[in-house]
Amino acid sequence: MSEQPSFTLDGRRIPFRDGQTVMAAALAAGVYIPHLCFNPEFAPHGSCRVCLVKVNGRVQAACTTPAAAGQLVQSEIEELREIRRGILQMLFVEGNHVCPACEKSGACQLQAVAYYVGMLAPHYTHFYPRRSVDASHPEAVIDFNRCILCELCVRASREVDGKNIFAVRGRGINARLVVNTPSGKLGATDFSVGDKAAQVCPTGAILLKHHGYEIPIGQRLYDRKPINVVGDVAQLSESRGGRRHD
């Protein structure tokens, strides 16, 4: 039997299977590379750009770069941390993220990744876009202010739930998440809390009603341990403070 091919990530040897990306292989080996639009249950998207790593000296998205034998991958270097910080800051000023007023605070992947890359302040000038909140559904609320356009809900609804409830529409800075009904209201769809789309949002944009503040602030998922130790909220079961139904 020949030895499994591998690449090097920050000095560690990471084995991979044919067809795996750098991200997937690192995750399987238990090494964290920060990410937002990537979710191991879905095909890579490559849009948030948080997972940038250096592959043989070139900056590339870990979630879309095929792993290859002998690659030299760097992730935890200051140059990349600075870029990632910049990207997180862009996401924070693009939307309206008022963490102290958000139910998701402490169990929010966006917030946790921001801490992880050392983002202390949004730095750039806020765009303060005018966006709405949709509470028309009996069991869920969408706060468009917090959407980072990762399209995970879009993909989950289309590919797993078979409902095609969400879409991203418009171009450039006008791109926005919409609900696929003439009224644009979630209440007019067959969205349900059991849907995969209800579990994947990395921010507080899709929240379930009747579950507010069940876990007090200070005892939440990322309050005591960072995301590289705890993992993604969407990948953890509800019993462990995550969002995934078992």
Binding site: R49, L52, G86, I87, L91, E94, R171, G172, I173
Partner: protein, 605 residues
């Protein structure tokens, strides 16, 4: 209801004319809009139903392309080309003038619904501007007398077909011809060559020629064709990239207008070499005026046996070409976004790898080449690779078409062997007083007079063809600011650093340009630019900060003199106090702002 049933009927007919194919969605929406002046929601639903696709897919496309309107639009839709070269020719003043004469605001539709006036990215008429589009058709050489007549034509509701022909005249302005534009080409010669000598021999000539992609990236064309020819699969495609969205570029327009046979011949040759039976031309929406003539050329080629079944009488040689129109999206020039658009979708660049040569149109192996590349390939098949390679430099063989515009006496198309110096080009076009050149469009490089001895070739200054001259009277920052607006408008919005970064960059540049910036803002621009260059998903975002970064290096004084006085910080902000006056007079030019120097002098006792 009679009305809605005619609407449904009209849409069914349009969809049927396109064979009910969802890959034709963008083409269908363009035609539906031609019919209704915009795309009311019920038309989108009807299109979805007639095509059997989800309404959401149709809406995604309708909301992506800037020439598709999901809000009511005037019967006459006038869009001024907003490239910096149009502005140099006075387009802003003309835009204000037209709106005044039509008694309306910019970027609105007049209350009677008759006319809309706005701006659009460069329409590729830089050598004959100021330019605009009316209902998608190019208007050139605008001036006040012409606009006066347009006002009358609009107010009298005169159909476009009755407008004076000279308003729509597009000239080619070929100022210098070399082997591509200068030598006669006998239609069919390249196809006879490939039938006689076989695809391998032609590929050998291509290798020998050293031909590199003329769209700007400079990938070896032979390598691309060989890779696609070797890719597994029976169905393959040839795509001609005639999107030409780079502001300041118009050489593909001239090739499509005067040398369409040569381009089609190059595509057909490629089809034979790689084993494809179908080709597409992706023609930018701004070149709508060329469509009928191009279709006529295709028809003629079919009639004389140069296209279609049994080309040149060989039953094994089949190839046909279809023309797809774009609809105002620069990003669709990026080859994978272009393929998405060809498939009838909105144009977001794909994840690469895989590359089009193995997974292109409908996931089949596809060659995407620039218009000029196909034209050169046809010539090489006839004249041989050595002939082509005798021109140019070690790494850049053959010639390059340059689109010259801006401050020069003879704007137009110049064909040079690769390796020509910037200085030589400036002399030839009559640019006596050049301060700087924007090479290869806003995504390319801004160079100053210190660099005019550099050479145009892949080893030094690579270019897709755009060459915009700024003379000493210009404020370089006017150009830079214009480019940052262009990128905000054209970002597809898929990835964070481009979607958000282009807006941040525009705001920083505006802040400094209007005299409100400090040294820290310049550093901030550099930092943001470096992030965008490496972090963006596609070439659009990666190159968007180039003009800002280059000008910071090449024209530091242009930036510095805009900074707030660092020596003296007035407690009373005169500039801010003038803001209201600027708003009232509609002025936003640098002269309407006080510089740090003015403030210092004003503050002296």
């Amino acid at each position: 209801m009679a009305e809605s049933s005619t609407l449904a009927q009209t849409i069914r007919e349009i969809v049927q004319r396109h064979g009910g194919m969802s890959t034709r969605l963008l083409q269908i929406l363009r035609e539906v809009q031609d019919h209704f002046t915009w795309l009311p929601p019920e038309t989108l639903d009807q299109v979805a139903e007639a095509l059997g696709v989800s309404p959401d897919k149709v809406r995604n496309v309708a909301e992506f392309y800037s020439f598709l309107y999901t809000e009511p639009r005037g019967f006459y839709d006038i869009l001024f080309s907003d490239n910096i070269t149009d502005r140099m020719l006075g387009s802003r003043e003309l835009l204000h003038y037209l709106c005044e004469r039509l008694d309306m605001e910019i970027n609105t539709t007049r209350a009677d619904g008759l006319v809309s006036v706005g701006t659009t990215s460069c329409t590729g008429m830089c050598d004959q501007g100021p330019a605009a589009l009316v209902n998608g058709y190019a208007l050139t050489r605008l001036d006040k007398p012409r606009l006066d007549r347009i006002v009358d034509l609009v107010n009298s509701r005169t159909p476009l077909t009755e407008w004076p022909r000279e308003f729509f005249e597009v000239t080619s302005n070929i100022r210098r011809a070399d082997i591509l534009l200068g030598r006669h080409f006998a239609d069919g010669a390249a196809l006879r060559a490939v039938l006689k000598r076989g695809p391998e021999a032609i590929l050998e000539e291509m290798v020998k020629s050293g031909l590199r992609g003329q769209g700007g990236a400079g990938f070896k064309s032979a390598a691309k064709w060989i890779s696609c020819r070797g890719a597994p699969g029976d169905v393959k495609y040839v795509v001609c990239n005639a999107d030409e969205g780079e502001p300041g570029t118009f050489k593909d327009r001239v090739l499509m207008q005067d040398f369409a046979d040569l381009v089609f011949e190059g595509m057909t040759l490629c089809g034979r070499v790689i084993g494809a039976r179908q080709g597409f031309v992706y023609l930018r929406g701004e070149y709508r005026y060329l469509l009928e003539a191009l279709k006529a050329t295709l028809l003629r080629r079919r009639e004389v046996g140069l296209l279609g079944e049994a080309i040149l009488g060989d039953p094994g040689f089949q190839f046909d070409i279809d023309i797809h129109m774009g609809a105002g999206a620069y990003v669709c020039g990026e080859e994978s976004a272009l393929i998405e658009s060809l498939e009838g979708k909105h144009g977001v660049p794909r994840i690469r790898p895989p590359f089009p040569t193995t997974h292109g149109y409908l996931n089949k192996p596809t060659v995407v080449n620039n218009v000029e590349t196909f034209a050169a390939a046809a010539k090489i098949a006839v004249e041989g690779g050595a002939w082509f390679a005798s021109r140019g430099t070690a790494e850049s063989k053959g010639t390059k078409l340059l689109s010259l515009s801006g401050d020069c006496e003879r704007p137009g198309i110049y064909e040079y062997p690769f390796g020509v110096t910037v200085r030589r080009v400036l002399e030839d076009c009559g640019a006596r007083d050049a301060q700087g050149i924007q090479m290869a469009g806003p995504a390319g490089h801004m160079i100053s007079a210190r660099q005019f001895d550099r050479r145009i070739c892949f080893e030094d200054l690579a270019t897709g063809g755009s060459f915009m001259v700024f003379d000493q009277s210009r404020d370089i920052l006017d150009g830079i600011r214009n480019f940052t607006h262009f990128f905000v408008h054209e970002s597809c919005g898929f990835c964070t650093p481009c979607r958000v970064g282009t807006s941040l960059m525009r705001d920083l540049v505006t802040k400094v340009h209007t005299g409100h910036g400090t040294r820290a803002d310049l550093e901030e621009m550099r930092k943001l630019g470096r992030i965008m260059q490496v972090a963006c998903h596609c070439g659009l975002g990666q190159t968007a900060p180039n003009p800002v970064l280059d000008s910071l290096d090449q024209f530091p004084e242009s930036w510095e003199r805009r900074l707030r006085s660092t020596a003296y910080e007035p407690a009373f902000d005169l500039n801010a106090a003038l803001e209201e006056a600027r708003r009232l007079t509609g002025r936003d030019d640098p002269g309407a702002y006080l510089s740090g120097q003015d403030l210092l002098i004003g503050a002296m006792p």
